[in-house]
Amino acid sequence: MAIPGYHGRVLEINLTTGNIKVEALDAQDVLLYLGGRGLATKLFYDRIEPSADPLGPDNVIVIASSPLVGSQAPTAARGHMVYKSPLTGYIGTSNSGGTWGHTFKATGYDALIIRGRASHPVFIDLSPEKIEILDASHLWGKNVPESTDSLTAGSTPGNLYRALVIGPAGENLVKYAVVANDKNRVYGRGGPGAVFGSKNLKGIRVRGREKITIADEARYRSGVDQAIYLLKQAPITKRLMRELGTAGLILLINVINMLPHRNFLDVNHDEEKLERISGEAIARGYLEKAGSCYLCPIGCQRHTAVKTADGRVRRGEGPEYETTVLMGPVCDVYDLYYIIQANYLANELGLDTVTFGGTVACAMELFEKGYLTPEQTDGLEIKFGRGDLLEKLVDLAAYRRPGLGSLLAEGSYRLAAACGHPELAMQVKKLEIPGYDPRASYAQALGYMTSPTGACHLRGGYAVSLAFFGGTKEIPRFSLLQSPIAIRNMQNTGILQDSLGVCRFTGFSFAIEPWARIVSGITGYDFSTAHLEEIANRIAALERLFNLEAGLKPEEEDVLPSRFSEIPIMSEGKPRAISRENMIQMRRDYYRARGWNDDGRPGESYLREMKIEPKKA
């Protein structure tokens, strides 16, 4: 009998052979890895060869649900996907809200494993009644909204189809293509869309009404009550996100000198221009309504509209903070008209807007410095401030148009390397740095350096969020001493949120304690916070182990680009840079805080302690 909160079933589909099998979920995996990110990582690690080509049939995609999904816990409707990233060559681990994650759980499975490669475009049709691999040739080439509409047609009230799809970017194996659900909610970073595309997998349609059981209703309910109360109490989750969306953070981030500008050359902005792209400006000029993922009381979604130059009204979602910053100030663009339309198109074609913005900013700097020539850009003058080019560049990248498009489709590192200047790519492990300048927070810097997926604030630890707690959890921003443990703890909080199936933004209100109560109530097992911390450490170690087995060189790759050592920014009245020595010190302390060896490798005894069995060499 399955542990309450789980269905106890894992579905595995081989697209090469068409073989479909259902296995019992190993209870030991649940107790050691919980669900979502943790469970997916374990199932992934057990099945993949670390050397597998990310775009080959041997790459494995694991989608796993969490014990909270299916309950009424706030935001607990998320899905998680693990794969080997074509952008980084290391683990890709991505989380999305929307409705798909919840509906997947309602099909009666806890995890879905996909391997192999179909001979032609297909989609998976999954419900409690059937599992089918169906032809998707008619969808190949269609964008995300078109594909979604096509797959969800025929829904019946109360039993809707939900679709997870890729757009042309995924089909064209763009290394930062996303997988989208609800048209605009994405499994975004590291190129999962390209992995889908490489398997000829256009999408996954789900439908179901399978329910979970709850072992201790009172304990579960007390945690839910507490979580809801705290979400309604904290200013970020009760008001700011709903009114201003994630872009409401732009002015806040600028106040702490953390908002990057011109490919991270500085953090200096004309405040009047910045106001034009703020969450406030979006709310005033473009917002039609706020929206929420399933079961979310926060409501950060932006449903917006923009009137185009030819008088049409285009509708879509966003832009989010990251999109606005990466396509905006990082490219020296302060015009929402361009940013919004480029964002719409990126969503439609299935591109990660963070990597896209970072890649374009890199291209702009390369071009201005003469390293990217007009011949390579097909004559386009890709200079900082050219917001008018953004939409065209989205199209070039998503379709891998010959010339500039194929360069942009590879991400900033490969672009800059092709131009002979890889140091101008603002990335870690080839994943572009999001919209928080690491020089303004050592903990955030260390988070980028040590994130298993490369420079990601969501996997590396969302240290910057500490600035919004009104001081409750604020940590010194420039402390070499405090950052290693702080970022380990932030990363662990993120690992647990991803493994519990809840939104990162709940962290603006509380950390783990209510979740511990909820998951204990649901499962009937005593998941104390201490136990959860141990699980988080285990998951972090397993992700690290995979990366090392996949070839990670910590000495060379757990670092920030030299720009952050060489060019200081001004913050709190002082020049701030992170010297190479400081990086090494923080990194070593971080490894130690994790219980790993000084070379960044979890040692044998630690792995034994964590009950992790490495692959045989």
Partner: protein
């Protein structure tokens, strides 16, 4: 004859000014009350006594409010020294006494009032908290004086008391204390006031539930409890006296551990001056602990953990102007570590916490002794009855004075804050001192609301959320 002495010494003035200001913040003076004195050698090497001027406002001392006296010429000078100078001079003649201080420790004054006719022979005050019990002694003398301010009688009796005790109580007036430093005298006075406050809180919660408790007891027990073995002075409750007797008989079983003696050797030590942001956090947190009365002056401890070390404030409650030692210590246990430091290290060894605070929150200390009517043993958890407290915590565990330390770590994981009866409040922060600070601060409020509900005759059991009782 010594030269006039009122030329200011910047360091001495700052010390007096900061302690004076802190004593007003801690509400152990009125606007003009109290006095401070210390021995001092001037630049010429002459032995002097520095003492506050009579009638000076201790919260706003100015340089010319300090009088520099030679021990034999206490009336010399333009500004006249305290009317209690003679008492101070005699105290400062005691071996080891380098400083003395008098304050209107209101809570202790209130806790020792009685309505016996004069001349009174008050009983000594018996503290029930570990800080006062161990630092000030199990019995603090209380003396009644016909002229309770600056009298020759006081100049004779008080130094004699202080020869055997660090602090003595002047009935209806305040306390006087001696110390090796002026900070130590202030420390003693804060502990004394805190001890009085705790006793009064316990008395209040006893009185507010006495009728209900009696109603729920069997006739034999009622009779026994209402007729104590020895008659008590009016105003003292038998339940409190029973607690005091038990503590005096076996303090080690009623307190978690014996606090480390007040250390004057490391007063201004700072081992991490280059970490300006963390220093700021320590000072901010220390000041809040003090100003918000979350722990008496220079009590409690706080730490931030590094990878191989911890940054440690062993006298955590410290107003900005006074400060306290800030140490960088190895995370591994050392033979010289005291119990409190070892506990910080043990908790870190078994958790991922980044910050810890141990504070002697008086309201929590008192409320941890609360016994629900109809029950025989003190509470094992504090259930908030206020809106924010109940959602933030639902329950706060209370450990008995002796417990398995692993249990404390486990509870900190689940609740982030734990009250130890006879041992203060332990709070953990996953990321920062600020996060840890929120817990004792909340616990204080939660206890205040519960105590207020009791005083108003409300039934706590009815007010406590049902779900909390099961958690």
């Amino acid at each position: 004859m010594a030269p006039y002495k009122w030329q200011a010494s910047e360091d001495i003035f700052r010390l007096f000014h900061s302690i004076g200001h802190a004593s007003l913040l801690y509400d152990i003076q009125d606007s003009h009350s109290g006095n401070m004195a210390m021995r001092w050698k001037n630049a010429q090497g002459e032995e002097m006594i520095v003492i506050t001027a009579t009638g000076s406002q201790k919260g706003d001392l100015e340089p010319n409010h300090l009088c520099y006296l030679s021990p034999g010429e206490t009336d010399f000078g333009y500004y006249k020294a305290s009317s209690e100078t003679d008492i101070h001079v005699n105290i400062l003649s005691l071996p080891g006494a380098q400083a003395s201080m008098h304050a209107h420790v209101k809570e202790l004054i209130m806790a020792t009032l009685d309505d016996q006719p004069a001349p009174k022979t008050p009983l000594p005050f018996v503290p029930v908290d570990p800080l006062a019990f161990y630092h000030l002694g199990p019995e603090i003398p209380v003396d009644w004086f016909a002229v309770p301010s600056g009298s020759p009688e006081m100049a004779k009796t008080i130094p004699a008391r202080l020869a055997d005790h660090p602090l003595t109580i002047i009935y209806g007036h305040g306390a006087m204390t001696r110390g090796r430093t002026l900070k130590e005298t202030f420390f003693n006075l804060c502990l004394a006031n805190n001890a009085g406050y705790i006793v009064r809180l316990i008395e209040r919660q006893i009185r507010s539930t006495r009728a209900k408790r009696q109603a729920l007891k069997t006739p034999e027990k009622q009779e026994k409890n209402l007729v104590p073995e020895a008659p008590l002075p009016v105003g003292q409750s038998p339940e409190l006296e029973e607690l005091r007797s038990k503590i005096k008989a076996a303090p080690e079983s009623h307190f978690h551990f014996r606090p480390t003696p007040y250390n004057t050797d490391i007063e201004n030590r700072c081992d991490f001056p280059e970490e300006d942001e963390i220093l700021k956090e320590f000072r901010k947190t220390g000041n809040r602990l003090f100003e918000s009365r979350l722990s008496p002056f220079h009590t409690g401890s706080m730490s931030v953990r590094g990878v191989d070390y911890l940054l440690y404030a062993p006298q955590a409650s410290m107003p900005y102007e006074v400060g306290g030692p800030l140490l960088k210590l190895p995370l591994a246990p050392n033979p010289g570590d005291d119990t409190e430091l070892l506990l910080h290290k043990k908790i870190y060894a078994e958790s991922d916490f980044q910050a810890l605070i141990h504070a002697y929150v008086p309201e929590a200390e008192a409320h941890a002794h609360f016994i629900y009517p109809g029950e025989e043993t003190p509470i094992e958890k504090i259930i908030p009855v206020d809106a924010e407290g109940s959602f933030m915590y639902l329950v706060i565990p209370v450990l008995p004075p002796k417990f398995d330390e692993a249990r404390l770590v486990s509870l900190l994981h689940d609740y982030r804050v734990v009250v130890v009866r006879g041992g203060g409040v332990w709070a953990a922060g996953g990321l920062s001192l600020s996060e840890a600070l929120h817990h004792p601060s909340s616990v204080r409020e939660i206890c205040l609301y519960r105590l207020a509900a009791l005083e108003r005759g409300l039934d706590l059991r009815k007010m406590e959320p049902e779900k909390a009782k099961k958690w």
